[in-house]
Amino acid sequence: MKKMKRPDSKLNETEVKQNGDAGGHLSVFTNVHTAAGSPEKRLLSAFKKDTNPGKAYLAGREYYSEDGKTFELRLVRRIKQQLSADPTTRPEYPSPLGLTEFTRRATEVALGKSSRAIVEERVLGVQTPGFTAAVRLGAELLRNWYDHCAAWCGPVYLSSPCDDSLAGIFQAAGIQDIREYYYWDDQQRGVCLDKLLEDLEKAPERSVVVLSASAHYPTGADLSHNQWAVITELIMRRRLFPFLLLPPQALCYGNVERAAWPVHYCASQGMELLCAQSFSHCFGLYGEAVGHLLCVLKQNSLLLSVQSQAATIVKSLWAQPSAGGANIVATVLSNPAHVVEWKEEVKHIVERCMLIRELLRERLRLLGAPGCWDRLTQQSGLYCNTGLNEDQVEFLSQRRHVYLLPSGCLNVSAINGRNLDYIAESIHRALTTSL
C-alpha cells in the first residue's frame, strides 16, 4: 500500500506503520458499520451479477418502453431544446418554495382549478426535489408545527405493506413513532376495509395517516370512492390528519383527474391535509427530481405563517429546489395545446400497460396457471400484484432469473414482446412446482 508523503514529517514512525496511519489515530469512522442495503438494492445487485441471458428485472421504478429502455416524451424533448435555446433564462437562485408557475399548476393538478380551497387562498404549494423530498418536507413541517407545545413525534400510520423507505423518511425527520394500519389482504387479494377501519378507529387523536391517493405501492390496489368516503368520515371524527401520496407512478392512469380524485374529495370535505406529488413518470423526467408538497389549510389567515416556516425548513434541507424539471412541467401544464399533446403521449403509456396486463392474463390462463387472474386487468397502472408468496418469488429469481419485488409485485412495463412468454411460463412454474 502506498504510504502517504507528508511534507516535513517529523514522525519517522509513519514510514514504519503499515497503513500510513498519520499521527497514530484510528479513523474517525472506525465504528461506522456498513449499512444494510435496502431490499431493492440487494435485488438489483443480484440481478446485475446474474449472467443468465434471459434474465428479466421486473422490480424497477421507471416506466420502460417496448424496447426495454426508459425514454423521453417527444414533447418534453422539444421543450428541453426550446429552453436550452432560450436567451432569456436567468441563472439565479429560485425561491426556496420553487417556481410559482410550477406550484400553481401542480396545485391545480391535485385539487382541480375551481377548488374552493384554492379560491379561498388557503393552499400552500412547495416545489421539492422529487417525491421523497416532498414527503420529507411534510414530515418536517408536521414535526415542527403539529404540536407547538412539544416537538410532535407521531404516531404516523403507514399502510401495510408500503414503500419501505417511508418509515425511514419520517424517522429522519425526527418522528420515531411509526405504526401500521391493515391494508392489503393476501386472502382477498385486495384491500380489507373492515380491518383498515378497525386499526384507524384505535389510532390516538392527532395521529397522521399516510394514504395513497392512487397507484398504491407496492400492491397497485387502490381504494374506491365509497371506501374513501367511509375512511374520511372516520378521519374527521377521530381527528386524524391525512397525508396523501400521489407517487410517481400515479399518473400512469393517464387521467390526471382520476388519480387525484381522493385529494379533491378530502379538500372538498373541508379537511386539512398534506399531499406529496411527483411528476417524474408521466413526464419521463426521472432524473429531474420534480416533486411538490401540497398543504391545504382550514384558514387562510395561517397561509403566510405556514409558508414562511416551510421556507425556513427548506433552507436547512436543500435551500432551493432545482429549476430544470419544474420548468418543463410548468411549460407543459400552462399551455393547453401542450397539455393535449402530453395527454396523448401518456395515453400510449397507459394503454401499453393495460395491454401487457391483458396479454399476461391470457398467457397464464392458457398455461392453466392456478388462481384467478382477473385482478391483473382489474387493477391498472404500473405495478401489479401477482399473488406469489416469498418462496415463489425467490424461486423466480433463483431458478428462472426473473426478479420481482419481494411482495410479489411487478412492474408491468418491463414485460415486452420478447420476454412475455418466458415470464408467463416462469410464473406458472413458480405456482405449480412444489417448493
Partner: protein, 410 residues
Amino acid sequence: MSVFSEVALAAPVAVFKLSQDFNNDQFPNKVNLGVGAYRTDEGKPWVLPVVKKVEKVIVHDDSLNHEYLPILGLPEFRSSASKIALGEDSPAIQEKRVGAVQCLGGTGALKMGAEFLRRFYNGNNNTKTPVYVSSPTWENHNAVFANAGFDDVRPYKYWDAANRGLDLAGFLGDLESCPAHSIFVLHACAHNPTGTDPTQEQWQLIAEVMMRRQLFVFFDSAYQGFASGNLDKDAWAVRYFVSMGFEMFCAQSFSKNFGLYNERVGNLTIVARDADNLKRVLSQMEKIVRTTWSNPPSQGARIVAVTLTSPELFSEWKDNVKTMADRVLLMRAQLKAKLQALGTAGTWDHITEQIGMFSFTGLNPKQVEYMVKERHIYLMASGRINMCGLTSKNIDYVAESIHETVTNVQ
C-alpha cells in the same frame, strides 16, 4: 380548528428581505449590493458560455438514458468534482480513500455531512458534539447543523472588527480550548461574509492545532475559482489539510463558479483514512440520502461532469471563471482608488486585500442605514457588500455615497 393554528410567522431571511426592499424602491439610481450571485457589468446574471454550449450538447444527445440517477449521484460528476477540489494527482484519490455524494447544492452537501456526523461521529447519535462556525459566517450554517440535530452550534473567533482582519490569536485560542473532537466548519477560500482568508502560514498553524486536538475538519467550498481566478490556488487550504493526513468532509457548491444557481449542483467530498472506512461511510450516506431526496437531479451534474471531463471545455470553463473573478478584482481596485481619490476618511486597503465576492466594508449599522435610506444603496447590516453589484455605471455613485456616509454619519 387548524392543526397549524399555533404556527408563528418566521423571521424573514435578511438577504431576501433586502432584495425585496430593493425591488420595491422606485429610486432610479438604486444599487443592490446585497445579492449573493454574480452579475455582469450590465448588472445582469451571466449564463457561462461553456454552460450554454454544454446544455445544447446534452439536450441533443440521443444516447442519454432517462433514468433515476443512483442515490449517491452521477458517478462522473462525483469523481470529477472531487478532483477539482483535491487536485488531479491527489495521493488520497490514488489511494482510493476519497468518495463523494452528489447533493442539492452546497446546502445539500452541508446537510448530508451534518446528518452523517450527528449519527456516527464521536459516538453514536452524539448531538452534544459542539459544532463551531466562524464569527461571522454564512447565516445558513447555523440552521443546517441545528436542524441536523446538533444541540450545540457555537461561534469561533474569526473576524477582528477593530483591525479589519483575521483574529488569528482568537481563532487559535478557540481551537486550543474547545472540547476534543469538536467539529469546525472552515471556509476553503473567499470567506463569506468577510472576504478575509488565512494566509498559508496561518492555515498551517490552524491545521497543527486541529490535528493535535483531534478536531473534525468540515470545509465549505462555495467559491473555488472566485478567490484568485485560479482553481488550484483557491484549493490550497483543502489540499494542504489532505496532505497532512486529515480525514475530512468538503461541501462543494458549483452554483457560483458554474452559474448554476438554479440547478442545485453540489458535492460532498469525503476523505477517509482508507478505502474500507470510505466504503462503510458511503453505505451510510446512501441511507441518509434515501430519506432526504432519494435521487438527486441530473441536469446540473451532467453539465458539470461533461465540462470537467473534456480538456477543451474544462479550459473554456476556467476562462469563464477567470472572467468573473477578474471583474470582481477590477471593481475592488476601482472602488478603492475612487475612495482614496475622494479623500474618504479611513483606510480602504481592505477592499483590495479581501478576497472573493464579498467585502466587509467596515461601515457600521448607522452608516448602513444611511446608505440604504438616503442613498438607496442596499447592503447587509453587517456592512457586507457584493462586489458583483458594482458596475462601471454605478461605481462613482457608490463611491460618492460611501464618502458622504462616512463623512456625515458616525
